[in-house]
Point group: C2
Chain length 349, copies 2
Amino acid sequence: MGIETFLTRPLAPALERGGRDDDVVMSTRIRLARNIDGVPFELKMSDSDQKAVLKAFEHAQTRRPNDVPELILFRMRDLSPLVRAVLVEKHLISPDLMEKEGGAVVLSDDEMVSVMLNEEDHVRLQVFRPGLDLSGAYALSSRIDDWLEETIDWAFDETLGYKTSCPTNTGTGMRASVMMHLPGLVMAKRIQALIPAIQKVGLTVRGVYGEGSEAEGGVFQISNQVTLGLSEGEILENLEGIVRQVIEHERMSREMLKQSLGVALEDRIFRSLGTLRYARSLSSKEALTRLSDVLLGVYLGYIEGLSAKKLSALWVSIRPGFLQYTAGKSLDAGARDMARARLLREALR
Amino acid sequence: MGIETFLTRPLAPALERGGRDDDVVMSTRIRLARNIDGVPFELKMSDSDQKAVLKAFEHAQTRRPNDVPELILFRMRDLSPLVRAVLVEKHLISPDLMEKEGGAVVLSDDEMVSVMLNEEDHVRLQVFRPGLDLSGAYALSSRIDDWLEETIDWAFDETLGYKTSCPTNTGTGMRASVMMHLPGLVMAKRIQALIPAIQKVGLTVRGVYGEGSEAEGGVFQISNQVTLGLSEGEILENLEGIVRQVIEHERMSREMLKQSLGVALEDRIFRSLGTLRYARSLSSKEALTRLSDVLLGVYLGYIEGLSAKKLSALWVSIRPGFLQYTAGKSLDAGARDMARARLLREALR
């Protein structure tokens, strides 16, 4: 299977099935950071060190058990900048890995698993699940971690735990994150008060799209900040508890908005649908805002006949890399806005 | 035929056929102001004077020639305020007549002719034509004037001409006006410079919709200011000359906008169509602006399958009186905005 397969579908097959609480939670991700004992860390790595990491992984591949999906390795140096950009847009690789010529990504066919090699850490193992599924994601990540550990010695300290390139990841090396669609809290202007409250309990909240702290399309990622001094189970329990509260707040906000705004909310949602179906030029920012409105409209029952999964896929397919890969050529900002509008018109027809 | 017939169709049958230059000129109107010799003018009229005017007209009706269409008389006092409001929205009566309990309107079935009785003058005879047709409108108005003159003596002064209630109408008593759709000149911001130039040659320009001088929906009425010291032929020639120039300026502006704005213009036009097809609440002002965009889109060839006449009819059917008459009940501003959006969605489906 070539890399093309991953570039022509905006939504991972693993995310297409509905997950738990997926009216609010778009997806769950567990990322484990691991480094190989005896191999220098990121900044001190030589070319042959990088090769050693890839070799270690390839050796493990020969002993892959049946309950770990087949994984295909792609070296960064074999991928064009545009292909790398698309992988970033799909969250399969980090912007950091995109720049590493000695790096590689290892993907499962359904995109449930993505392992980055020679990123900030030697191995960054990611597992994605639809909806809210921290335990499911963690179970598979542990299974893969166990398998790799059969042939690879991780750099590990009895007191600190897993050693990582950046000290903030040392400990469990685990970053658990939940991608949430919170249009109700944004529209009700309650998100500003909620973010510091979440941060106070040691979690991070950031907008997934858009620059800086302004979240475009109402999509936020909530993840654990601390990986040291707590067990994986405690981290996941803490995160899950907060996420459940945010889900409830979001659902209440949606209902309250429906009752208090009434036709004004319906009007806003349908105008967004009209714009997506008719505009000839759409910026990324506007498209995300309007997609968010329309997705809210689907969940509130205003809009029928449009699937939430189809809309979620559009979140990715309207991004600059994806648009240009689909067009088969480089597009300037104006041409991208036109291509984006065309894609949305056709997708939502 | 009852008044209902006139209230359920927004566009006059007389205007449904395409007229000359109707990509820019929506309609032409000639209005002749006449007063009956020996009957006191407006402010000095008694009830019996008003009755005498109606009687004189009814007497003339018995001698109507074949080339004047059948005319039906409706007394204001028999019409509800809402019905009167609809007639004003259709330009069949003036806001002034609406308030006159002793007034009446006389209409031809196709609404090409509307005679107001006991408005500011005893008789205000109006003829409407589609597109630019000053000579056609004038010919019919003269024909009706001649017919009425067979049984009625008009108040006439050999030096001044026809006497009228307000001195500004004295002379020919004629007001010729052309209703023009000028979205190109508005969008190109050339209308501001054009209006004073037109006023300098003795013509009046005013927005047809909206308050004050701000024309909503890009519709302007150009009419003669002076009725004294010029013959009817000179007035019409002068007006027609200017209107032809405005038509050319408007067409050039549209082409220039198409070339200079390109996709941005197409985008604006299609977004307006999307909003009209999807919004759940639309103010009169926004609806007119978006209808204007869409009509421009039809003329520029961007939008297919929508007829200009259908759009012109919507200009009237979205107005407050019409909406309430159609709904069969009084609607507050919020309910009207919803009814307007529903009507537009259904009409443009």
